[in-house]
Amino acid sequence: MDWDQFDLNPKTVAALKKADIKSVKEILNLSGADLQRLMKLPSADIQCLLKTVSHTLRRNSMLTALQLYQDKDNFPSQHQRLSLGCSLLDNLLKGGIPLVGITELAGESSAGKTQIGLQLCLCVQYPHKYGGLESGAVYICTEDVFPSKRLQQLIDQQHKLRADVPAEIIQKIRFGNSIFVEQAADLDTFQQCITRRLSLLLARGMVRLVVIDSMAALFRGEFGPAEAALRARYLQTFGAQLHSLSTRFRTPIVCINQVTDVVSESEAAQCSCRVVGSRVTPALGITWSNQLLMRLMVRRVSLPGHSPGTASHCAGSRRTLSVVFAPHLPPSFCYYTVQLEGVKGTK
């Protein structure tokens, strides 16, 4: 660390070099008394040092809420969203998935989570005008094989799903080329994937969406009840790494999660699933929930009688997409169906 670039007293700089302090982080990690001892300087000098390095680290970091509100170009993370490809679903989410932060999509099996994940991988490739981010996506599979046939079906039918986009724009996009599929069946591979492959792809600007399908599969069967603390450590580390990537590259991260049964009333009270009558809660517990910005749940509800006009796979069932929590959305839900061309909201 080149201490001369800071606006410091030459005596302080000499003391820093002599005490072998190499980074701003080290300075801030030490207490005032420790710094005094290490650098053999009076407390006034130490206070000055702390203020100077803090200033340099946090230069120009103040904003007012008015700037965030009015200056839409400089703060896209406040105003832009990643569209889901259907206006009804976008209305539920007031535009779509936020650009910065981890969004979770939890639900039972065959509720439609992978379908929504695939659809997002296609939506992200559209221009900004049509709710996309003009870039590719990374799809990390942790248990099943990547559904490439279904992806091809969706690509072929994009013109039908996105009737709002002119045909020539859809034809120009090479959907298959920009979706990078990664397989990560265990924790170490997943760790490698995030720290190496993902950072590389994000740094090169080739992707602006990460879909992880699914988080729970990585932890299932690996940790016994006695190893809860270790599991929590892994979850926190992954959460922090994903969060940091998301903030650095302004990339939404969508984590697909499974659900587990609710065992007792107190557990039901602890989880934030307010869907009445729901006996399931997203897996991975409160440690994972703490890492999330937004949680969505998909359910398949069987209704008595048949609802006309919905192309559901089994007669008399409806799928719902609900917002469980989000800082900018009220808890709400909407119905949707899975059709050949993709996931579409219904009234």
Partner: protein, 368 residues
């Protein structure tokens, strides 16, 4: 800056030289600058720089201390403290049940910690407080500004706009009902743009940035003396990963707590922190407890725990020096933080002793 040179904490030899050269006040020293000073009294440039730094520190610290009125040399009686505390403003939350159990609202000069599971409403309350701190005094507010330090990226300005618009609307309705001159005047400056422009937003991505930001806060608050609220949302997130050495974390958190207490006192502002919950595995069952460990529990003066009971949101006052432990229900509407039921209507005629924050309900509303 009119401090006499003789009272500054400099070496006696240096002080003698300064007196001999004719310097009398600290301001004169600062005006001269290091080069001039070294030439005038015959010391090296380095020594002059050091001396000026000390002078600046002293004057700055002095100014901060006289502004806050606290410091090691202040003495006062408990009665004076009681009077001061009773005249202290509160920042209301718009949920009167919560305000009541807190003793009036979020108190200035104290640290309030809000703990809760994800999605229960901590960030919503923080956004509500950042708007409510700006309510003019004639409406029962403290007319202050807010600093919002965001570590999780959950600050959505559209939501703040909704909350602020609802607050302005509420004040307009009160002014209409009570028809007083100072209400109308206050409303001229209490607009959406005004509210947004007085929320100072800082985004900290890791704990180093957070520590640096807190070191810079006293200076910022001295420059923006109208700030009455500092929100850190959330304090747990940057500290719950990346620490093999938990003792380092405890030390850093303790240092942070001390700095925040000093900031709260010196600048007469409320400090609000949000914390996560973690599972504590007990003998036969596991419970949810606030994160960051037992020692962090001592940092906050007031601790609120938000939790669920089926689909009802509840707030429990868990720790307070003056109020008793209590649980109330609250609601989060599109307008922000609110009560579950509207507060009881006081059958007043002629406007005697009306609570300036509440407006009398009209017939249509009562029927709803």
């Amino acid at each position: 800056m009119q401090r006499e040179v003789g009272t500054l904490p400099l070496a006696p030899a240096l002080r003698a030289r300064l007196a001999a050269a004719g310097f009398q006040t600290a301001q004169e020293l600062l005006d001269t600058g290091p080069c001039g000073l070294s030439k005038e009294i015959g010391i090296s440039r380095e020594e002059a720089l050091e001396a000026l730094q000390v002078v600046r520190q002293e004057c700055h610290g002095h100014a901060a201390r006289t502004a806050g009125g606290s410091g090691s040399t202040r003495k006062c009686t408990a009665l004076e403290l009681l009077e001061e505390e009773q005249s202290q403003g509160f920042i209301i939350t718009f949920c009167s049940a919560l305000d009541n159990i807190l003793g009036g609202g979020v108190q200035l000069t104290k640290i309030t910690e809000i703990c809760g599971a994800p999605g229960v409403g901590k960030t919503q309350l923080c956004m509500q407080l950042a708007v409510d701190v700006q309510i003019p005094e004639c409406f029962g507010g403290v007319a202050g500004e807010a600093v919002f330090i965001d570590t999780e990226g959950s600050f959505m300005v559209d939501r703040v706009v909704d909350i602020a618009a609802a607050c302005v609307q509420h004040c307009h309705l009160i002014a209409e009902a009570q028809q007083e001159e100072d209400h109308r005047k206050a409303l001229e400056t209490f607009s959406l743009e005004n509210i947004l422009s007085h929320i100072y937003y800082f985004r900290c991505r890791d704990y180093t940035e957070l520590l640096a930001q807190v070191y810079l806060l006293p200076e910022f608050l001295s420059e923006h003396s109208k700030v009455r609220l500092v929100v850190i949302d959330g304090i747990a997130f940057p500290f719950r990963h990346d620490f093999e050495d938990l003792s380092l974390r405890t030390r850093l958190l303790n240092g942070l707590a001390q700095q925040l207490i000093i900031i709260a006192n010196d600048h007469r502002s409320a400090v609000v922190l949000t914390n996560q919950m973690t599972t504590r595995i007990g003998q036969s069952q596991s419970t949810l407890v606030p994160a960051l460990g037992e020692s962090w529990g001592h940092a906050a003066t007031v601790r609120l725990i938000f939790h669920w009971d089926n689909s009802q949101r509840l707030a429990t006052l868990y720790k307070s020096p003056s109020q008793k432990e209590c649980t109330v229900a609250y609601l989060i509407t599109s307008h922000g933080f609110r009560d579950v039921q509207p507060p009881a209507v006081t059958p007043s005629t002629g406007g005697t002793e009306l609570n300036p924050r509440k407006r009398p309900r009209t017939e249509e509303e009562k029927l709803q």
